[in-house]
């Protein structure tokens, strides 16, 4: 075995990583070679010297560390003792929370927009809106009709407000309303409830009409069945 190889093995041996198969050859070489023997001795002494002269920490190290840690926590996390627990540094949790908050925000904006509905409607579109209303059963225009006109949601009620008009039937129902003041909202709510009452009354009237028509029909049938008085 050459000395360079033996010294490489000696380094491995020092770290306890020499393969068992190589141990015999190495020991044989070291026994015969004074250079490698000295090399091994030097390595062992170097390790001992490094170990014996390990520097010692200042006595107040723990105290200074404590102080610095407190200061760092105060600066970075506002003094939270366990920043990863108390401020939710977990990135996944943060994303989940953000996603939930964003979704809720979007839903709130959409709900608000739907609640207020589009307001800017030209009279020409009224028939279409009325047609849609009959199917939707709502007091607002479908969104598409407003988008088609480039309208926006939540506009302020303009002068000549529909609320000054008599609240009856299609004229009111055909309008999409929105307002920006509390009074507007109150008015909208009041009109909506009035609209609901009218709808109920309409349904009741329609039912009555149907009943009366049925009664009339049956009367006619009976009338046909009646024996015709001979003049």
């Amino acid at each position: 075995m050459r000395c360079s190889k033996a010294q490489e093995y000696l380094n491995l041996d020092l770290d306890g990583m020499l393969p068992p198969a190589a141990t015999g050859d190495l020991l044989e070489h070291v026994d015969k070679c004074p250079t490698c023997r000295e090399y091994r001795q030097d390595l062992e002494l170097s390790q001992r010297l490094l170990g014996a002269t390990a520097p010692t920490l200042p006595d107040n190290f723990d105290w200074k560390l404590q102080l610095k840690l407190n200061q760092t926590l105060k600066e970075t996390t506002g003094g939270a003792a366990y920043p990863w627990i108390e401020s939710g540094l977990d990135r996944g949790a943060w994303l989940r929370n953000f996603g939930t908050a964003a979704a809720m925000g979007m839903a709130a904006v959409l709900a608000f927009a739907l609640f207020l509905g589009p307001m800017d409607q030209s009279p020409s579109s009224a028939p279409m809106a009325s047609a849609s209303l009959s199917t939707l059963g709502s007091d607002r225009l479908p969104l598409s009709s407003n988008f088609a006109r480039g309208g926006t949601f939540g506009r302020q009620v303009r002068g000549g407000s529909p609320f000054t008009q008599p609240v009856s039937g299609g004229a009111v129902l055909d309008r999409g309303w929105s307002g920006s003041t509390f009074e507007d909202l109150q008015l909208i709510r009041r009109l909506r409830s009035e609209n609901q009452n009218l709808s109920t009354r309409l349904a009741q009237a329609q039912l009555q009409i149907r009943l009366m028509r049925a009664k009339l029909d049956s009367t006619r049938e009976n009338a046909l069945d009646l024996p015709v008085d001979e003049p």
Binding site: S46, R48, P55, L57, P58, L73
Partner: protein, 233 residues
Amino acid sequence: MNLSRDDHFNVSPAAARVDLCDVRDEDLIVQVQNGQRKAYDELVSRYKGRLFSFILRMVKDADLAEELTQETLIRVYIHAAKYREIAKFSTWIFTIATNLVRNKMRQKSRRPWTISLNPAPDDDEVPVDPADTRADTSAEVEREELAALINEATSRIPEKYRIPFLLREVDQLSYEEIQQVTGLKLGTVRSRINRARNRFRLLIKPLLKNESLLAELEQIEARAAEDDDNDRH
């Protein structure tokens, strides 16, 4: 919240430490993640000396070494939640320390107005001068003086060899751990450690021949063993 120690101990710190002395580092950091401050204190007590020893031999400035040791331990606390047991805790903490040391050394090397008083790289293999230690052969060489000589010799090993060398010799990390800390290949780690050992051996060669120094070394080791026994009891 103020982190005074008393707030986090139901029992005395010493008693708490006794309970934790058999717990693995990896389990301790999990306890830290769960908000147990005494587990962090145990980790600090286990690693502060090793870290300081490693860092001081890298930067050769006691104040800076203390500062970087604190910084490492603070980062361990602040980023405790990021630790996953895919690597040993010792690997993680020494990776933090090594990165801090490298950054600091890079910053130092960038300053154009500072002049290094270290010997030129060509002088790497010139042995450290033990003249002061041998001036009075009758007197024992103080441990601090010996330590200063060893530190001087260590600082003359080029940085790329010094890091794996110190991680192995001072901190007893395995080759695989050093590989993870440094990002080097296993063969490179091995060869760099061997080169550093050779260089270090040549640098302290005069010390190794000095009988009084060797006697002092034995006394230091004996005192350290006594201290260990006292600590255990």
